[in-house]
Amino acid sequence: SAVISQKPSRDICQRGTSLTIQCQVDSQVTMMFWYRQQPGQSLTLIATANQGSEATYESGFVIDKFPISRPNLTFSTLTVSNMSPEDSSIYLCSGLQGVQYFGPGTRLTVL
């Protein structure tokens, strides 16, 4: 099984600033994903992080707002840019290794 860590675990940010979330997997995974989850809600897929190329974004999510990098098979970053209070949420990364494993999440509050 894969163990996934995320940094930071939580943050409180000001409107208009940006935050980069890091996701590290302890072993190689074939695919990595970024999700957003509002409290009490299901998961919404933001994008698939592709190694060495541009991420594949879901409808409603754009690269300018959520730039993603994946330089290798075990690491990815998600940046939430020009934040507004509507971006307050939990951001989860996951890696696929037969089963999809999830990181602990980053709880973001935008004031």
């Binding site: 695919m31 009490g40 299901s42 998961l43 989860l92 037969g98 089963v99 999809q100 999830f102």
Partner: protein, 109 residues
């Protein structure tokens, strides 16, 4: 786009009772996953169902998959308070996963 429907969304049950959570999905898929999420925590993988007729059991939980009916069930036997959590099913689409809305289970002592 693949749709995944779970029901019920909320389930309050007494300890010792049995119940079933249902997960229906809209298009063909041979892989279905069940996850558990405790409040404030991330998702924990419970079961991976990889073919029609697959059945997996762990403790008081048993999951099954009927790909022809596009239906998976998560059966809870003799519920205990420790099973209180939110349960999600997820269907493997083409290079991505589609999650159900989740079933929030509360087992009352």
């Amino acid at each position: 786009e693949l749709k995944v429907e779970q029901n019920p969304l909320f389930l309050s049950m007494q300890e010792g009772k049995n119940y079933t959570i249902y997960c229906n999905y809209s298009t063909t898929s041979d892989r279905l996953y069940w996850y558990r999420q405790d409040p404030g925590k991330s998702l924990e993988s419970l079961f991976v169902l990889l073919s029609n007729g697959a059945v997996k059991q762990e403790g008081r939980l048993m999951a099954s998959l009927d790909t022809k009916a596009r239906l998976s069930t998560l059966h809870i036997t003799a519920a205990v308070h420790d099973l209180s959590a939110t349960y999600f099913c997820a269907v493997d689409g083409v290079n991505k996963f589609y999650f159900g809305s989740g079933t929030k289970l509360n087992v009352k002592p």
